[in-house]
């Protein structure tokens, strides 16, 4: 199974990506798709758009590292991660994660794992564009906690062995 990892400025088509991943396959029992979408508000205030800055090279490397990690943790039969950069308007997709497995537990867990790490380890930064100017979104402690649970699980697993 060769994962698809792509950074792009252009919108993505979730349906086309899942079709590519599942076409001609009969070993996929569970397919989980996560789409992160630009909301029309941020911290309760309306926004005009988000602009995503990223660190080319490192962003791909970090995503690929975590996709490889997910493949080791769960029996996946397919993974696609697409992350956009540049200007994104409300209602448009920012990130797409697709995971496939023979059973749902692995597909769900891997998709959540990848999202938690994309949020906290992949070098992307969101800038909010409002009528009165721009500002950078602050990182959320809850995202760090979400990513941390996978590390603690791994640590517990290793301690138990």
């Amino acid at each position: 199974m060769i994962p698809t990892v792509r950074l792009q400025r252009e919108p993505f088509d979730a349906a086309a990506e899942t079709a590519l991943l599942t076409r001609g396959r009969s070993d996929i029992g569970a397919l989980v798709t996560f789409t992160g979408i630009c909301r029309g508000d941020e911290a309760g205030e309306p926004i005009a758009a988000l602009t995503l800055e990223h660190f080319p090279g490192m962003a791909e490397a970090e995503i690929e590292r975590h996709v490889a990690d997910a493949k080791e943790r769960w029996p996946l039969t397919g993974v696609t991660v697409i992350h956009r950069h540049g200007r994104i308007e409300p209602g448009d997709g920012i990130v797409l994660v697709v995971t496939a497995s023979s059973h749902r537990e692995a597909a769900f867990a891997a998709a959540e794992f990848l999202m938690d790490f994309l949020k906290t380890r992949a070098p992307f930064w969101k800038q909010v564009e409002r009528a009165d100017g721009t500002s950078w979104i602050e990182a959320k402690k809850t995202d760090d906690a979400a990513a941390d649970r996978w590390t603690r699980t791994a640590a517990r697993r290793e301690a138990a062995e």
Binding site: E53, I94, M115, K119, T120, P123, W136
Partner: protein, 85 residues
């Protein structure tokens, strides 16, 4: 030996440039030491590194910690906590 430093998001905005070549003294051996040295280079650097605890770093495109050695680094990046996804 000179090293390329890159800045992202508001670190880049505060310093006013996306990257530069720097030549820190031999006494600067860690990521944290480099932040201290950069902070002393002028007002814009002091502002960028004013709250050093929140600044993240990467050496040659892999996450690094304040105590990571910068020996052999070709590229060191500084940026705020990530907010992608």
């Amino acid at each position: 030996m000179s090293v390329k430093v890159r800045y992202f998001a508001w670190v880049r905005e505060r310093i006013g440039k996306p990257e530069e070549e720097i030549l820190p003294p031999a006494s600067v051996t860690t990521v944290g030491g480099l932040m201290d040295w950069l902070a002393g280079r002028g007002e814009e650097y002091a502002y960028a590194f004013e709250n050093r605890n929140v600044i993240r770093a990467a050496i040659d495109r892999a996450h690094a910690r304040p105590d990571t050695a910068i020996k052999d680094a070709r590229e060191i990046a500084f940026f705020p906590p990530m907010t992608g996804g």
